[in-house]
């Protein structure tokens, strides 16, 4: 079983190995994008969720202080050479802040790498599906121009199947969460290795873990759900364990909201679009609050979670808008919740730790 104790090192190794095999690297901003398309062009998608705890002064010359730390850090990382290993930058349209970031990178920063964008539709089906399929096709055309390669439909299908296999393994990890011999930090290091590992490598690592699943629950403590964008600093996971809780399920943008079901269409672009659009409820995709509530409540029932920790990044409007209604609905259904607001560059503050401990005590 592979150990994912040093994500930064693992990430570097994955990039290095891919490059040694003649591949290229695409730095991808959050959240949703067609991994299979990038892989079909031999780009390894490596996601940029911040990264946390870096000096974000360079971005302050371009972004106001009321823009979230994900956007700030990503830009600072780019400006200080952090994205140098990348040959391409993909900026999916996730929210107003990442929209703006993508726009200023394209128009003003103009990095060495090509910058491509992807708009994720928020309209109803079938219009959204048709649009997204065409948007992915347009991305294909741009990659074709950029690389001079034209992956065939069969190549695309193969890449899609590889990603779908990895997504299935990811879902199984979640389903068997309780019986896996991994504490929360180890579990999330594994889950989040999907952000940089090739699908087949991730699948193999996941299968390794799944093969040693126990028959009875391996986790003790008060089960809770973790909701939000990204569990950074990762110390929060240890803090939850220390305070007597364990994360029975999550509604995190980088994790549980990306349990993509396989698409159904034989047409590759449509199939990729189906998979992205049919992922669990997500405020950045415009999911109705009721849908999010039902998803969370169902997860709480399935996992026995007694409460939800909304772990929110400051200034994240899509998340913040839903909270009052969502929390009220959960409360009415007997699921308590708390909100912890963080900035990617702050450590886990004592104030937040206390709040977390108090919440877990109240649940116990």
């Amino acid at each position: 079983m592979r150990a994912f104790s040093e994500p930064a090192k693992q990430r570097k190794e994955a990039i290095q190995k891919h490059k040694e095999r003649g591949g290229q690297v695409a730095a991808v901003l959050p959240i949703h994008y067609p991994r299979a398309l990038l892989r079909a062009f031999n780009y390894l998608p490596v996601e940029v969720w911040g990264p946390p705890q870096i000096i974000n002064r360079p971005s302050a010359a371009h972004l106001q202080p009321y823009i979230c730390s994900i956007a700030h850090n990503a830009l600072s990382f780019l400006l200080t050479g952090g994205l140098e290993p990348a040959d391409l930058i993909l900026a999916p349209h996730t929210c107003d802040s990442l929209q703006g970031l993508g726009s200023i990178i394209l128009d003003f920063i103009k990095p060495r790498q090509a910058v491509l964008t992807l708009y994720l539709p928020r309209g109803g089906e079938p219009e959204s599906l048709e649009y997204l399929a065409r948007e992915i096709q347009s991305l294909y055309n741009q990659l074709e121009l950029l690389t001079g390669c034209s992956p065939s439909m069969a190549d695309l299908a193969e890449s899609i199947h590889r990603e779908e296999a990895a997504d299935r393994a990811l879902s199984e990890l979640y389903q068997q969460r309780l019986v896996l011999p991994l504490d929360s930090p180890a579990f999330y290091r594994l889950i989040r290795s999907r952000e940089y590992l090739p699908a087949e490598v991730f699948e193999s690592a996941a299968r390794d873990v799944l093969s040693v699943a126990a028959e009875s629950a391996q986790q003790g403590g008060t089960p809770i759900l973790l909701s939000g964008i990204v569990p950074e600093p990762m110390a929060v996971l240890e803090a939850i364990t220390t305070a007597g809780g364990y994360i029975a399920g999550d509604d995190l943008a980088c994790c549980g909201r990306r349990l993509y079901p396989p698409g159904a269409s034989p047409a590759p672009f449509t199939r990729m679009a189906e998979s992205l659009l049919h992922a669990p409820a997500d405020p950045t995709r415009g999911s109705p609050i009721q849908e999010r509530f039902e998803w969370l409540l169902d997860m709480a029932h399935r996992t026995g979670a007694r409460g939800v920790v909304f772990y929110e990044i400051k200034f994240c409007e899509p998340e913040l808008f839903d909270l009052p209604v969502l929390r009220k609905k959960l409360m009415k259904s007997g699921v308590r919740s708390t909100v912890i607001e963080i900035d990617l560059n702050d450590g886990l503050t004592q104030q937040n730790l206390t709040r977390l401990e108090a919440f877990l005590e109240a649940l116990q």
Partner: protein
């Protein structure tokens, strides 16, 4: 009239309209004598002002009783409202209502109500103002009608999507979303098709709520009114090319209400035709908005609704006229794209292209173009804490304007509706230093 509630609606609205007309006449008489105007720096407001007040008050008066006689839709300011207008919906714009609260200095109190209910202070202050009004039931316009339909278009921000999801959940009302893909540099043809398809798909649901079929002739007529009103609005804005400029950005902010919330109505066309006549009159008489215009500036982003007069005075005292705005310009610059003969296709094109739905580079080009067109001496960029899509990019835009094009530009930190994010002293100091650079 058989339906008693409809009869009550018409009676209430009819009486209210008459009262508002009388109030307008009184205000017009007072304005003619220019009594009570005590500014040393600014010329008296446009004579059309009582007319604007009447139109806006009438709009909210109709809203007060709308649930008795009409179907009500709440819409975002950039939504293709012509569909709803042609279906006889009473249309309410929560953003405008929030601005009215802001100008009436009620926004802070209402925002606090929303914050007490759990809404973060980091979300848009328009949304907090309206959600606060919804929670406590207070509004300067009497009361707001309950929506039968919610209609949100993402061409101004993704915030509206989150906001309208909250409203949809609160009112258990159908929500139509017209999603307009953001144009980073060039729009794809598939984006246009996508918006048009959504407009087409919106019609049956809107018809179902309205209880009637959409009459295509009526839709064309409504679109024609939108186009004419937008053209007139643009002409009014362009009048500021004259020296001295006959209207200021503050006038534009005050008189833009009809183009936003009454777009598609014939009376909006009449109103802007009358306003244009007055503006021409001012030009003929050489009346400027500032008594001794020395420098001319552009305003980027939404206004400070709670400080319009103070800011106008502060600038006017130094002979600075704020005469062009990328924000008010947005309601007129797309007029020529509107084609009543291709209703849905042209609606899709127009509503896809607002400045807020286009990249930061496009906005820089627009600012530069406006500086040349209006012969401006500098740019004030309002870094609006509540409007991220408008504000991101301003730091680079300011840099480019100053360094690449030699146009002095200043970033002012504030918020369009929440005065708690506004520091009087800081703004005064920064503006003072900027005016020294301008030499006034």
């Amino acid at each position: 009239m058989k339906d008693p509630s409809l009869a009550r609606y018409h009676l209430s609205v009819g009486l209210g309209r008459a009262a508002l007309r009388i109030r307008r006449w009184q205000a017009e008489r007072k304005a003619l004598s220019a009594k009570g105007w005590n500014s040393q720096a600014l010329t008296p407001p446009l004579k059309i002002s009582p007319y604007t007040k009447e139109l806006v008050a009438r709009h909210y008066l109709e809203g007060r009783y709308a649930n008795q006689g009409r179907k009500v839709a709440w819409v975002t300011s950039g939504a293709p409202v012509e569909i709803l207008k042609a279906l006889d919906f009473y249309v309410l714009y929560p953003e405008n209502h929030a601005a009215v609260c802001g100008a009436a200095r009620l926004a802070e109190d209402l925002a606090v109500q929303a914050e007490n209910a759990g809404y973060s202070r980091d979300i848009c202050s328009y949304a907090r103002t309206d959600l606060g009004a919804l929670i406590c039931g207070r509004t300067p316009v009497g009361s707001l009608p309950r929506p039968d339909l919610l209609f949100a278009c993402t061409n101004i921000c993704q915030t509206v999507l989150a906001w309208y999801r909250v409203l949809a959940d609160h009112y258990q009302t159908p929500l139509i979303v017209i999603d307009t893909p953001f144009i980073y540099q060039q729009p794809g043809e598939h984006a246009l098709g996508y918006v048009q398809q959504q407009c087409e798909a919106a019609i049956p649901l809107a018809e179902q709520v309205a209880g009637k079929k959409l009459d295509e002739t009526r839709l064309r007529e409504t679109i024609k009114h939108s186009r004419t009103a937008s053209q007139l609005w643009m002409e009014i804005l362009e009048s500021a090319r004259h020296h001295p400029a006959p209207i200021s950005v503050f006038d534009q902010f005050i008189h833009m209400a009809p183009i936003v919330e009454m777009r598609g109505d014939p009376q909006t066309v009449d109103f802007y035709a009358a306003m244009l006549r007055e503006v021409h009159e001012r030009i003929d008489k050489g009346i400027g908005t500032v008594k001794r215009e020395q420098k001319r500036l552009l305003w980027d982003n939404l206004p400070l609704w709670y400080r319009l007069r103070n800011l106008a005075e502060m600038l006017g005292e130094r002979g600075v006229a704020l005469i062009a705005s990328s924000y008010t310009n947005a309601w007129g610059e797309l007029a020529e794209m509107i084609d009543p003969h291709k209703p849905l296709e042209s609606m899709a094109r127009v509503y896809l292209h607002p400045i807020l739905n286009q990249g930061a580079g496009h906005k820089l080009t627009t600012l530069q173009r406006m500086v040349t067109k209006y012969q401006l001496d500098g740019v004030l960029l309002h870094s609006d804490r509540s409007c991220k899509p408008y504000s991101i990019g301003q730091m680079d835009q300011r840099e480019r304007l100053s360094k690449d094009f030699g146009i002095p530009a200043l970033l002012l930190d504030a918020d369009h509706n929440d005065p708690r994010a506004f520091s009087e002293e800081q703004i005064a100091t920064r503006l003072g230093a900027f005016m020294e650079i301008l030499g006034v």
